[in-house]
């Protein structure tokens, strides 16, 4: 009985990890996109600052 339960848990964990890695890749892409936008906006405002009298 105990062995059966352990196998169940291990399988559940593998399935959960596989699903999370899929979400994580999408999350990474989304976060990196946000990061690029933030850096672009920062550089834009910095350019304004440098170019104004």
């Amino acid at each position: 009985m105990a062995k059966a339960a352990l196998q169940n848990d291990t399988e559940k964990k593998k399935w959960k990890d596989a699903e999370e890695s899929g979400n994580l890749k999408g999350t990474l892409v989304a976060v990196m996109t946000m990061g690029v936008l933030i850096i672009a906006a920062w550089l834009g405002v910095f350019q304004l600052f440098l170019n104004r009298p």
Binding site: T27, L28, V31, M32, G35, I39, F46, R52, P53
Partner: protein, 158 residues
Amino acid sequence: MHKYEKIWLVFGIGALIFFLSVIGVSAFYLGNQPPSCLATIDPDKVDQTAPFNEPGLKKVEGKDWDYELVYVAQAFSYTPNEVEIPKGAKVKFIVTTKDVIHGFEVAGTNVNMMVEPGYISEKVATFDKPGEYLVLCNEYCGAGHHMMYSKIKVVENQ
């Protein structure tokens, strides 16, 4: 640690170091400072305290800037109301307020600061382009806030 977590951390900490370095060089090497609240003054005695007892444009010698432009802000006007500055002049703005918090922005330039009672705000700017510049209050100060402005005219040298 997950591989993606490492990538995110490198990216995030790298961006932080870059931003802090730019600000650090700007502040410590180029001498850029926040303009507001460096020196203090008694707000009740502004009219008797130099240099605010004589607001306006004054030529100075021996300093990093050519002129000092002293403003007194109050609800709802700036003194002086109009100033003429020669083209190319490097001007130090020195501003304080007699009553409430005001803003002081020379539209289209980097002169943009808060003016708080009890404090003096300062900013150095160079006017290379002739024309008319609007000085406006961008911090709500009461019923007449939207009418609070003055003019700077940058004129060609004779």
